[in-house]
Structures are given as structure tokens and as C-alpha cells.
């Protein structure tokens, strides 16, 4: 836009930069702080943003290595952070696989087939995801408590129970995948059917390979969703060795036992990979969703 600029324009640009830089400092202050805290010795010591004395004790503890304090005491890791991370990744990966397979098949039927109750089920799915699972915690607890009486392996304090509780959350994913499948021309599958493919073969061998981008996006979304889930995990898991990261991290910051430095190292150790995955997924998600939404 070629327009005449008045004098105040330069000042406005400058002010905007100053505001943004100030805001960014405010926003990333917690991240810088937590990095500094993870490198400074002790759990209480206060100091400047750049620690004068760098100590790796918290990182060692977060990685599960015992550490010898200057006075000769051996400090053992308080919590099994790596085990929690592994629990989280295990549950989230399995959840993502289950969610993906359930929602892909359902989305295929919604996108390609005619059956009674199609519009109603689609609307029902949309309605379903408006009610967060945190409202049904009492029932979820009661259900798995009773299931556990019969099958201890899916009772309270088992990862299988968490997996089952998460696997029903397919509503949004079905919509996402359906939107993408709707953009793929049906003629390709019809050609496969003319060549003698069954609907299942047309789905598995023709359509699925073309839908890989959206499947990756949904996988990552389901994975991240399960990793950061807190309410359901907090009522189903109690035993320390079974906890996921989202439930376990809280234990660092009890008023009576305040392990600030150890928490900082553990938070970076576990938060960084999840953040990176999320930023990558975000890029794909936007391109995947817009690609799917073109004809939606």
C-alpha cells in the first residue's frame, strides 16, 4: 500500500517493537528462569538469572543418577522421572494407535458409505466432545473400580484402564479425518472396485496411502492429548511407579517438601521433547487441516 506516511509513523513502529520485545521478555521469563534454576545448586538458593555457579546435580537426579553433595552425603533421586516419562510415552503411543485405527475406519464409513442415522451420528459425535471427561470422573472411577474387581489388570492403578478411558475420545478425530477423506476424489476407489477390489481393499490399499498426512496429524494430536491429560490419570493412578508425568510432576512441589531445582530439571527434560513434537505437529496440522477443509 503506497500511502503518505506522517511523522508519527516512525514512532509508532518503534513503540510497537518496544512493546513486543517487552511482552516477549515477560512471556519467556518463566522458561529462562526454569533453565537457570535447574543449573543452580540447591533447592532453595536464590540467585541471579545467570547462575554464578553451575551445578548439574538436578540434572543428574532427573536422569536417575545419584549425586554426591559437597559434604559427602549421597543424594538419591527422589522420584523416577524417566520411568514416568516412559509411562507417559507408552500410554500415549498406544492411545494414539488405538484412537487412530478406530477413528479412521469410522471416518471412512462416514465419508464413503450411505447408512441410516449418518447425519445424527455425526452431530452426536460433535456434541459428545463438548462435554469434557472431567465431568464424568466419579463414574470413570466407579467403572474401573468395579471392572478391577473382576479383571485386576484393567482396574484402578493399571495403565490398561487409562488406555481404555482415553480410547473413546475419537469424536474430533473422526471429523478431522472425514473432512480430509471428503477431499479425495471417489473416482480413484471406484476405479479400484472396477478392477475387482472389495470395499475393504479399496479402503486399505487405495485410500489409506493417500490419507497418510492426515493420519500423521491425528496420531500426533492424539499422542499429545494423552501425554498432557491430567484429570483422568490423577484418579486412576496412585502407585508411584505407575504414574504418568502429568500426575507425577506435581509431587515435586509440596509445601512440606519443596524440590524446586529438581523439578526444574525434570520439567525441561520432559517438557522439551513434547514441545518440539507439538510445534512440528502444529505446522502439519495447519497444512493438513486446511488441505482437508478446502471442500469440507
Amino acid at each position: 500500500m503506497a500511502i503518505v506516511l506522517d511523522k508519527s509513523h516512525r514512532w509508532r513502529v518503534l513503540a510497537a517493537h518496544a512493546f513486543l520485545i517487552g511482552l516477549i521478555l515477560l512471556v519467556i521469563f518463566p522458561f529462562l528462569m526454569i533453565l537457570s534454576i535447574s543449573l543452580r545448586p540447591g533447592n532453595f538458593a536464590a540467585g541471579s538469572l545467570i547462575p554464578e555457579h553451575i551445578s548439574l546435580e538436578h540434572w543428574k537426579l532427573a536422569l536417575g543418577i545419584s549425586y554426591t553433595a559437597p559434604d559427602g552425603r549421597v543424594v538419591r533421586p527422589e522420584f523416577p522421572v524417566l520411568l514416568w516419562l516412559w509411562n507417559s510415552v507408552k500410554v500415549a503411543a498406544l492411545t494414539a494407535v488405538i484412537t487412530l485405527s478406530l477413528s479412521t475406519t469410522a471416518a471412512y464409513a462416514f465419508s464413503r458409505m450411505k447408512f441410516r442415522g449418518k447425519q445424527a451420528s455425526l452431530a452426536g459425535l460433535m456434541l459428545m466432545q463438548m462435554f469434557p471427561s472431567v465431568l464424568a470422573l466419579v463414574a470413570i472411577y466407579a467403572i474401573f473400580d468395579r471392572l478391577g474387581n473382576v479383571f485386576p489388570s484393567v482396574g484402578i492403578d493399571s495403565h490398561a484402564s487409562l488406555l481404555l478411558a482415553y480410547s473413546g475420545g475419537i469424536a474430533l478425530h473422526v471429523w478431522t479425518i472425514k473432512g480430509y477423506l471428503d477431499t479425495i476424489p471417489i473416482e480413484i476407489e471406484e476405479a479400484a472396485k472396477v478392477d475387482g477390489a472389495t470395499p475393504w481393499q479399496a479402503f486399505r490399499l487405495v485410500l489409506l496411502p493417500m490419507a497418510v498426512p492426515i493420519l500423521m496429524v491425528v496420531f500426533l494430536l492424539a499422542f499429545i492429548g494423552a501425554i498432557i491429560e491430567y484429570p483422568v490419570a490423577s484418579i486412576l493412578l496412585h502407585e508411584e511407579a505407575k504414574l504418568t508425568l502429568a500426575v507425577g510432576s506435581k509431587l515435586f512441589l509440596y509445601e512440606q517438601k519443596y524440590l524446586w531445582g529438581d523439578f526444574a530439571a525434570a520439567a525441561i527434560l520432559s517438557g522439551l521433547p513434547i514441545t518440539v513434537v507439538f510445534i512440528l505437529a502444529q505446522k502439519w496440522m495447519i497444512s493438513g487441516l486446511t488441505a482437508g477443509g478446502l471442500k469440507g
Binding site: 511482552l23 526454569i34 478406530l102 464409513a109 458409505m113 469434557p132 468395579r146 480410547s167
Partner: protein
């Protein structure tokens, strides 16, 4: 064509189906045998549906739908319906068991009968233990099979005459180890070969016991020790004595609208409920307002051609959204700590103040809002950037020709044009924060608590976290009451959702 694979192809689906079906039936019988009739019935219906869907040619489309929809119905829809139904019962830590299980509890109780106690010693056997009982007068000794003594569930333990034991019994364990395992030992009922029952009555002895209650034909329980009766009362959910005294444990019964009545009319619950409801609405509205305002302002800035380094700014400002919420919330919990949090250290160095973020109700609320706006504005920023991009550029050119400043542009062009598509998103953000359990639970836990209410409730509690506290924390597992409050929240969320759908439709119709 080779016949072998085609035979395999033809026969493998039905065989697989039969195997899965048999496994399902086996599980159903197992569940039924364990006394969970409702669960067994549900499983049977699901298996039958699966059988129909995967065999009938008319249900081909449903074969693809069935796994997903069934899982969603069982693990998402059913818990919600079940929550509502729990809201009409007295399910709580006092009324935990179903009626048959509660009755069984009474029937398992014993009292010390007449007869001489037997001397008891405990002997280690590998990692497990054997119980040895000796009747010194008659000169008999009895030994049990090895037991783990890991849990305190009641169990019957048959003891055999010591002569039948092949291997030699080790030395008795020390008394301190017996004391350590007392709770587990007390749960044992030793049964002698002649049918006498014995329970631990002292550290060195097992005494004869008899079942305390006997079930009568009319459902009453006869107390064999004093001849009195216990009568189940299905209104209160307790066994009661003749004088109406309740005997623990109770059992679950339907109580109609009693829980809802308590929430809305009982002073002890009504007062905190209303206060918490008001704060929930205020919290959600303010969060959405500030988040949207900041996000929109940034989006407008990033739409400004004269600004450089936009990509870098945008990436850094998006960061709070990418970091997992449970981590950033806990980071803030530490930074805001009253005594050694970095925020207070800085404030003290600069202004000499040390605000009590976690103990002052107002400051705690302010802190919640600060953290939540920090968490939520990037989403609004991204959404607004997309919406602003869709506004035709010639509108701004025209306004520039007319000599309008940036404020006029914003209030006359940008805001009116993005408000319509933005409204449904704002409503869904409102609904999300209305139930923002994770934030409150991890940051303040609802504290500081009200000082003038009789039930534990916090000044920063949202309705969901209040429900959570009633069910799973300090006030003793009142599941029925918590489920009733959840049901009320369901109704509120449904109302918000209706509103949102209305506005979505308006936005969509407008586009056409």
C-alpha cells in the same frame, strides 16, 4: 490358483469370529460369576451386537463404524450417563458397597465363642509364612499351607495336623515380625479339621470364633451373641438396630432428588455452591476477555506491513501454547511461591513488597487469571490472525484515503468483521475455562479455603474442582453428591453449547 490359500481365506474369518465369540462368552460367564451382573449384561449385549454387525450383509457400513462408535459409547457416553445416575444415589465412603456385599460383610463378622484358645506361632517358609497352632492339653498341633500375608482381605485358612507335614518347620519368627503382620493375620480364619473356626485373639494365641450374624428368611440379621436383630433400611442405606441406630458399613440405595436438594437448599452446600458458581463465571469471562483482547491486539500488530521481524516475534509469542500445560502451570506455581518464589524475590528487590499469592483470596484469583491469560492468548492470536487475513485489503485502502487512523480502522473495520466468526470460538473458550480443572488443581488446588463454610471449599475453586474435592479429596468420598453437582454442570455446559451452535449457525449463514 493354488487351493490352499483360498481355503484359508474362506475359512479364516468365520473361525476367527467363532474364537473371538467364545472368548467373549467365557469372559461374560467369568464376570457373571464374580457377581457383576450389570457388567456381564452389557458385555453380552455388545458381543451380540458385534456378531450381528459382522455377519449380516445388510450392516456392511456399520462394520467400519462399530469399533469406534462402540468404544466412544462405552467409555465416553456411558460414564456421563452413569455419573448422572450416581447423582441419585447415596454412593459415598459410608455407603460404598452394594447391598449383597454389605450383607456379606456382616455375615463374615465373628465373635469369640466358648472354648480354649490354641497357642500360635508363625513360621517363615521361603517368602511366605505358615501358621502353627498347638493344643497343649490334647497334645495336637496343626500347620497351615504357606500364605503370603500381603493383604488384609478376609480369608479362610485350613490347617492340617502337623504330622502330615513332610518338610521340617523352621524356627518361629520373632514377635516383632508377628506384630508387623498383625493386620494381615487378623484377617485369617483358621479352620481345624473338625470344623472349628479360630481367629487371632492375641499375639500368641488363636481363639475359637463363631459367625456373629445369621441371616433370617425375612432378610433380618440375627445377632447370635445377644439375640438382637439388624433390619436393612432401604431408605437410609444402612442396617439398623431395633432402636433405629445405624450400623456401618452402609450400602448403596437410590435417594431420589436428595442430593440436588442438598445443593440448592441446604445452607452448608448452597452458600459455597453459589459463591463458587459466581467465581467460575467471572473467571471464565475475564480469561476469555483478556486472552482475546491481547491475542487480537497482537494479531492486528502482526498484520501491519511496516513491522519487521514478525516471524520471530510470532514464534516466541506462540511458545506458551506449545509447552505442555501441566509443566507451565507447575512452573508458575513455583515462581509465585510466597517465600522463595522468584517473582516475589524480584518484587521485593524492586518495590519491597512480598504479595502472599497463595494465601490471599484476591491475589490468588489474580494469579490464576495471569497464568491463564498467559496460557490462553496464543490460541486467540492464531485464530484472530487467520480471521484478519480474510478481510479484503481494499477496505483499509479506502479508509486510508478517507484519512482514518489505526484506531478507527480497528473499531470500524477489523473488529466488526471478525467478531461474528469469532463469537462461537469465544463461547467454546468460555466453556473450556468453565471446566478448567487442570489449572486450578495444579496451581492452587482451590485454596485458600473459605473460613465460614462447613464443607471444604476454596475461594479459587471452580465448580469442577469443587466436585473433585468432594469426591476424591478432603470431605470423604461423597460420590453421590459430587455426581449430582456434575449433573448440574452438565446442564450448564449443554446450555453454553446450544448458545455456541446458534452463533456458529449465524456466522455460517452470514458467510453465504
Amino acid at each position: 490358483m493354488n487351493p490352499a490359500p483360498s481355503a484359508l481365506k474362506r475359512w479364516s474369518p468365520p473361525v476367527l469370529l467363532a474364537v473371538v465369540l467364545l472368548a467373549a462368552l467365557y469372559m461374560v460367564t467369568l464376570v457373571h460369576a464374580a457377581g457383576e451382573t450389570l457388567l456381564a449384561g452389557t458385555m453380552l449385549i455388545i458381543s451380540a451386537l458385534a456378531l450381528w454387525v459382522y455377519t449380516s450383509p445388510r450392516t456392511y457400513a456399520y462394520r467400519y463404524l462399530f469399533p469406534g462408535i462402540a468404544t466412544a459409547l462405552i467409555f465416553v457416553v456411558f460414564p456421563m450417563v452413569y455419573t448422572m445416575s450416581i447423582g441419585f444415589t447415596n454412593y459415598s465412603s459410608k455407603n460404598l458397597l452394594k447391598f449383597p456385599r454389605a450383607t456379606q460383610y456382616f455375615l463374615d463378622e465373628t465373635y469369640q465363642a466358648e472354648g480354649e484358645p490354641l497357642a500360635f506361632t508363625l513360621h517363615a517358609d521361603g517368602r511366605e509364612f505358615r501358621v502353627r497352632l498347638e493344643d497343649a492339653d490334647a497334645g495336637h498341633a496343626y500347620v497351615s499351607r504357606p500364605v503370603a500375608l500381603k493383604n488384609t482381605d478376609l480369608q479362610d485358612l485350613k490347617v492340617e495336623p502337623a504330622e502330615q507335614l513332610k518338610a521340617a518347620l523352621g524356627d518361629p519368627v520373632q514377635l516383632k515380625d508377628v506384630i508387623a503382620r498383625q493386620p494381615q493375620l487378623k484377617a485369617l480364619t483358621a479352620i481345624l479339621p473338625d470344623g472349628r473356626m479360630l481367629r487371632m485373639t492375641g499375639l500368641r494365641q488363636f481363639g475359637p470364633v463363631q459367625p456373629l450374624y445369621e441371616k433370617q428368611a425375612d432378610g433380618r440379621l440375627l445377632n447370635k451373641q445377644d439375640g438382637s436383630f439388624l433390619l436393612p433400611n432401604f431408605d437410609t442405606g444402612f442396617y439398623e438396630t431395633a432402636s433405629g441406630e445405624r450400623v456401618q458399613p452402609g450400602f448403596q440405595v437410590g435417594v431420589g432428588w436428595a442430593n440436588f436438594q442438598r445443593i440448592f437448599t441446604d445452607q452448608a452446600f448452597q452458600q459455597p455452591f453459589i459463591r463458587i458458581f459466581v467465581w467460575t463465571v467471572v473467571f471464565s469471562a475475564l480469561t476469555v476477555f483478556f486472552g482475546a483482547a491481547l491475542g487480537m491486539f497482537l494479531a492486528v500488530l502482526f498484520n501491519w506491513d511496516a513491522l519487521r521481524f514478525k516471524g520471530l516475534y510470532r514464534t516466541l509469542l506462540f511458545l506458551p501454547y506449545a509447552v505442555p500445560g501441566f509443566i507451565s502451570i507447575l512452573v508458575f506455581k513455583g515462581l509465585f511461591n510466597n517465600n522463595f518464589g522468584e517473582i516475589n524475590l524480584i518484587l521485593e528487590a524492586l518495590f519491597g513488597i512480598r504479595p502472599a499469592w497463595f494465601s490471599d483470596p484476591l491475589l490468588a484469583k489474580v494469579m490464576l487469571l495471569i497464568v491463564n491469560v498467559w496460557l490462553g492468548y496464543p490460541y486467540m492470536m492464531v485464530i484472530c490472525m487467520g480471521l484478519i487475513k480474510a478481510i479484503p485489503g481494499d477496505l483499509y485502502e479506502a479508509s486510508a484515503v478517507a484519512g482514518a487512523g489505526p484506531l478507527t480502522n480497528f473499531f470500524r473495520i477489523t473488529l466488526p468483521l471478525i467478531m461474528k466468526p469469532l463469537t462461537p470460538l469465544l463461547i467454546s473458550a468460555f466453556a473450556f475455562n468453565f471446566n478448567n480443572f487442570v489449572l486450578v488443581s495444579l496451581l492452587t488446588g482451590g485454596r485458600p479455603d473459605f473460613l465460614d463454610t462447613s464443607v471444604p471449599a476454596g475461594t479459587t475453586d471452580l465448580l469442577v474442582s469443587y466436585t473433585y474435592r468432594i469426591a476424591f479429596q478432603d470431605s470423604g468420598a461423597q460420590y453421590g453428591l459430587a455426581a449430582a453437582i456434575s449433573t448440574v454442570i452438565f446442564a450448564m455446559v449443554a446450555g453454553i453449547s446450544l448458545l455456541q451452535m446458534r452463533f456458529t449457525r449465524i456466522a455460517r449463514d452470514d458467510k453465504r
